[in-house]
């Protein structure tokens, strides 16, 4: 019935029509209509491949619906709807268009059946999303957006190069599981890795997301990185070395999260850490692990959006999201606080909240396959998440020392969006089977065993006790107005400094060379001038007599030569 409706095109058409509608409630309704219409084909179409195009003799599949792409495109649609409710009050056309184009591109990429279609949407997410950062319209956000765009576009270029090499090697453009025997697949993996914020490739995430607008950050948090998770799950499931990569990703961001002051940046570090769990799941590659990855992406998008929404609401009302300037807001923003705590409980994987039923699948899958060290790291990371996201975010924003700020409660649309998202976080935790039923493989997993529940509570309570103890003994680092160096230091300070040095060095050497060359040229000129110049010997006036004399000498010499007969 809706086979003529492509979900991604719904978003693009919506984005194009938007500016024609008067900017007010009518337009706000139209924006909300887009994700609702966009999800219809996902829910009504059978699994299969649709919207196939022919390009230079190759068949491109722009709409491939199967179990894996269904989970991701469904959660992308849901995230789009919730974050657009949250952004109901925004009257900035640039942000409205960017949000729709961005969500649509992410859904289009999740539905792509070949590498060319994937590339087009992949770049689409990059180009659309940067406007959510530039929408802040400050010098800082302009530069941050540029850095973000360069890295995102680079990921796309690497993907295109990989696709071309892969096509040359295998003759196929299909976006399926890749074997790492060919060079092309490595390029594709690198491209996915950039967007997935692999260690050392990660810093675009922490740099850019906190620079966006209040609503922009919420929208950004949902799509790009989870699209990369989807792409990895489809292309590289069971690739062993993704396990240590994922484990590293769960580990190092939590240290930064503890000392970071900007609460939105704290959340990007924990986002990075959560991606690590998913990457480990992809690396393990068993049915349980892939199910865990898909489920975790689903619940993660919701609770992460909820956390960004609540911190965003605080920013919206107070003008700051920095831990050092907040505190005591529970008195006047009680609902925002409650929703924030629900998001915090979900990310910390408290039983009955969404994170618990998805993260435990990944941990079980890693343990089942005997990845002992990885399992220990994931367990540490789980405790650490509770520490820095679960406790730190609500604590420093809403409790801690009273900042004296008495902001009003968040606007109704923000509360509505947070309320719906919070409801989903709890609903998934309480009734996990609904989510389990749409996962790629059949689920034979029960998260609510006594062992799971008790051990998880032990881990979380003692993580909390550690927080309390360190707080009370004054060891816990206070929130300070500061930033922390991360890998972006290399390309923001070191590389520019190196370039500056090289430029200075080269120009100094060059000017020395030029000066030296100029000196020797003028020395030669002087020497020549001394011979041939107006004062030179050669230029001296010679009488004609000399010429005749030399001619006579020459003739004499010729005569002599003729007279002497050689034997």
């Amino acid at each position: 019935m809706f086979e003529w409706l492509h979900p991604a095109l719904v978003y693009l058409v919506g984005a194009l029509l938007l500016p024609l509608v008067p900017n007010g409630k009518a337009r706000a309704f139209l924006i909300l209509l887009v994700p609702i219409v966009g999800v219809i084909p996902l829910l009504t179409m059978p699994f299969g491949e649709f919207f196939q195009l022919n390009l230079f003799g190759e068949t491109l599949t722009t709409f491939r619906l199967d179990k894996l792409s269904f989970v991701f495109s469904l959660i992308f649609s849901l995230a789009a709807l919730l974050s657009l409710i949250y952004a109901w009050h925004v009257r900035d056309t640039m942000q409205q268009v960017a949000a729709l184009a961005y969500a649509g591109s992410a859904i289009g990429a999740a539905l792509a059946g070949d590498l060319i279609t994937l590339f087009v949407w992949w770049e689409g997410t990059a180009i659309a999303s940067v406007f959510l950062i530039w929408a802040r319209r400050t010098e800082g956000s302009y530069h941050t957006g540029m850095r973000y765009l360069i890295i995102q576009i680079a990921s796309g270029v690497v993907l295109l190069a990989g696709a071309a090499i892969h096509y040359r090697e295998t003759g196929s453009l299909a976006f399926e599981a890749f074997s790492l025997d060919g060079v092309g697949a490595w390029f594709i993996l690198l491209s996915f890795g950039i967007k997935c914020a692999f260690p050392l490739l990660h810093n675009w995430l922490q740099d850019s997301y906190p620079a966006a607008t209040v609503t922009g950050t919420v929208i950004l948090s949902a799509f790009t990185t989870k699209l990369a998770v989807y792409a990895l799950a489809r292309g590289f499931a069971g690739t062993d070395f993704l396990i240590p990569i994922g484990a590293t990703m769960t580990l190092f961001p939590i240290f930064f999260a503890v000392i970071e002051n900007d609460l939105r940046r704290v959340l990007t570090y924990s986002l990075n850490n959560q991606l690590g769990f998913m990457v480990v799941g992809i690396g393990v590659g068993s049915e349980l692990a892939i199910n865990g990855t898909a489920a975790h992406a689903f619940s993660h998008i919701l609770y992460k959006a909820l956390l960004f929404m609540s911190v965003g609401a605080v920013l919206h009302r107070t003008g700051t999201a920095k831990g050092s300037e907040l505190g005591g807001l529970y008195k006047t923003m009680p609902w925002t606080m409650v929703f924030c705590v629900i998001g915090a409980a979900s990310i910390s994987a408290f039983p009955l909240f969404s994170g618990f039923i998805s993260k435990s699948m990944i941990l079980s899958a890693a343990a089942k396959d005997g990845h002992y060290i990885t399992w220990l790291i994931l367990l540490f990371a789980s405790a650490g998440v509770f520490h820095h996201s679960g406790i730190k975010i609500p604590y420093f924003a809403f409790f801690a020392h009273d900042s004296g700020k008495r902001p009003a409660e968040a606007p109704w649309n923000m509360l509505l969006a947070m309320g719906l998202t919070a409801f989903l976080c709890i609903a998934i935790g309480v009734w996990p089977n609904a989510l389990y039923s749409i996962l790629p493989y059949d689920v034979k997993y029960n998260p609510y065993t006594s062992t799971h529940v008790i051990t998880q509570f032990q881990l979380l309570f003692f993580s909390a006790i550690a927080f309390g103890t360190l707080m009370r003994t004054g060891i816990y680092p206070p929130e300070l107005k500061s930033i922390n160096l991360d890998t972006d230091w290399t390309y923001r300070k070191i590389i520019p400094a190196v370039i500056k040095f090289v430029v200075m060095f080269v120009s100094a050497v060059w000017s020395e060379l030029v000066r030296g060359a100029a000196n020797s040229v003028s020395a030669i000129q002087n020497t020549l001038a001394s011979f041939y110049g107006p004062e030179g010997r050669v230029a001296r006036v010679q009488p004609t007599g000399y010429m005749v004399l030399w001619l006579a000498i020459l003739l004499g010499a010729a005569l002599l030569v003729n007279l002497v007969e050689l034997p």
Binding site: G140, D262, R406, F461
Partner: protein, 116 residues
């Protein structure tokens, strides 16, 4: 919004706030903390009363999750604190190519004081 104090939501709001006012009282926070400790200890003792299903032998140790959670979190914070010595810079370190030292633009905000 101004009259929400008298509305139904206003009642729920003040209920949430009133039920949390103890967080500003140091002695009550102490009690809360020790309450958490007691619950934590009880949870750990539960290990004696049920059969833990484990993948690794380490897990089977009594109270493994409790000790691991506490020790690793404490280590995390101490290590992070040490990292600050090396990594911390002032907010305007990257200025002007960074948003950290900028104020958030007012057009994106809707500052409003609570009606208290």
């Amino acid at each position: 919004m101004a009259d929400h104090k008298n509305s139904k939501r206003g009642h729920v709001d003040s209920f949430i706030v009133r039920s949390l006012l103890w967080v500003d009282d140091r002695s009550k926070v102490d009690k809360f903390f020790w309450g958490i400790v007691v619950v934590g200890v009880l949870l750990t003792l539960l290990d004696l009363f049920y059969k833990k299903k484990t993948y690794f032998s380490t897990e089977a140790f009594f109270g493994f999750y409790s000790f691991y959670g506490f020790i690793m979190c404490a280590a995390l914070v101490v290590a992070a604190r040490a990292l600050r010595v090396v990594l911390m810079r002032s907010e305007d370190y990257y200025a002007p190519t960074d948003v950290e030292s900028e104020d958030h633009p007012e057009f994106d905000l809707n500052r409003k004081e609570a009606d208290v």
